[in-house]
């Protein structure tokens, strides 16, 4: 499988993280999204007319939507799926359009109504916090149950990177505990802005 990848993209990281947690190897092709705008190059548009990243190819199959890619990677792994996933895959889009956009604005200068975008991010994070708090009351740590599914992997990157876009995670203790649970999963890999848990990797 080949992943057309941009190292700073939260959505590309979803795919890299999912594959790492499954122990599935990916061939990475670096795409110069910024400053090169290579995702809009003729070669990339031929592969994905929408001109977005990530793009995954597996034989003749070409997938250009991160939720579809997560489903594809876990098609033989029912333990990573739940009937509640779709709700959270849709919510992952809300995160992408709010905290995700605020991050692109602050880091590489994307155009956005930044106050409105951050406010939408806060609304989304409050919803996430409320749900994860309910889960904790029921003794569950992940979005859909006791174990992580593609729902968690889809929502984690933009949430964890929210401070990059000027949206603090300080008010959300349940979200922070959930993120810590994801970061402690065997096979977890980091991306810039999301650091690994050193103290768990190397206990004193």
């Amino acid at each position: 499988m080949i992943l057309y990848d941009y190292v700073l993209s939260a959505s590309c990281y979803k795919v890299r993280l999912m594959a790492a947690l499954l122990g599935q190897s990916l061939t990475l092709r670096a795409v110069n999204f910024h400053p090169g705008r290579e995702h809009k190059s003729p070669e990339m548009l031929a592969l994905n007319p929408k001109g977005t990243l990530p793009v995954l190819t597996d034989g003749d199959t070409v997938l250009a939507d991160s939720a579809d890619i997560l489903r594809h990677l876990t098609s033989e792994h029912p333990e990573w799926r739940s009937t509640d996933d779709d709700t959270w895959l849709a919510f992952a889009s809300d995160l992408n359009d709010s905290v995700g956009l605020a991050r692109l604005h602050d880091v590489i200068g994307y155009a956005a109504d930044i106050d409105k975008t951050r406010a939408a991010g806060v609304t989304a994070l409050r919803r996430l916090e409320a749900h994860l708090t309910e889960q904790r009351f029921d003794g569950l740590i992940f979005l859909t149950g006791k174990t992580p599914t593609i729902a968690d992997i889809a929502c984690f990157p933009n949430t964890a990177l929210a401070p990059d876009g000027g949206v603090s995670l300080d008010p959300y203790p349940s979200v922070r505990l959930w993120m810590r649970a994801i970061r402690s999963l065997p096979g977890f890999i980091e991306m810039p802005g999301i650091h690994r848990l050193h103290e768990l990797a190397h206990p004193a």
Partner: protein, 278 residues
Amino acid sequence: MSAAIDNHWYPVAMISGIDAPRETLLLGKKISLGRDGGACWVKNAQGTPLPTVERFGHLWTSPGQPNRDLFTIPEADSPGRRLVDVGSVKVKCSPLRAVENFLDIAHFPFVHTDILGAEPHTEVDRYDVKIREEVDEVWATKVKFYQPQAAKSAAGGITTEYMYRVPAPTCSVLYKTCPPRPGEWDIITLFVQPLTDEWCEVWPWMALYDDDSTMSEMVSFQQLIFMQDRSILENQLPRKLPLDPGMEVPTQADMTSVAYRRWLKKIGYTYGAKLVAA
């Protein structure tokens, strides 16, 4: 603002990225820039043209009257090097904090884990630092550090040698062991545009020997490294860089930073700096 701050050259754009005229900030003031045919221009808020230099793939300007030419990097001109426009990243931190972070080696195993450093190889050996009076630059030499993946072109862990140079208050040039050509130095720079005293746009640029990696791979590698620093930089306190001792306790590994701060104080460069001891 004082001449000690205004009379320097500052990066304001990557030349290959200038399409339409645009506005940006320099030292808290609005400027505009663009390109007419071949030549780039910069104007201040009143519409008065500012001096420009086009060098290292970037456009440089100054709100004052620089008393010397923008520094040069003669090694970067040697044939066979690939010049890499990395693009820019905005960071909410003092421009001086951004430079200081670039000069620090001790954070590598913790922030750039398994790339520029790895536990348990965390010790920074003694190295040489000096303010070279004749050129008025800060230099650190004989810096050695174990790196799991020193560059995109590195096949495995190596002990890398570094030289750091601060030729201007908001710029640093790093010379480091070139994995495919051990006799040469790779050149990695950090050009910092002070948007305000607590907000900057950082323009890394590189001149590397690497015949195997694609340009996109080299850009990716450097963006990965720099973005690992960003969240750390945005959380450093105090937000301005203290130039007087008292607020922070330096160790042996911080000699370059100590020299940098001392030099900033000597030349009166206080933009983004904190002067009163705690």
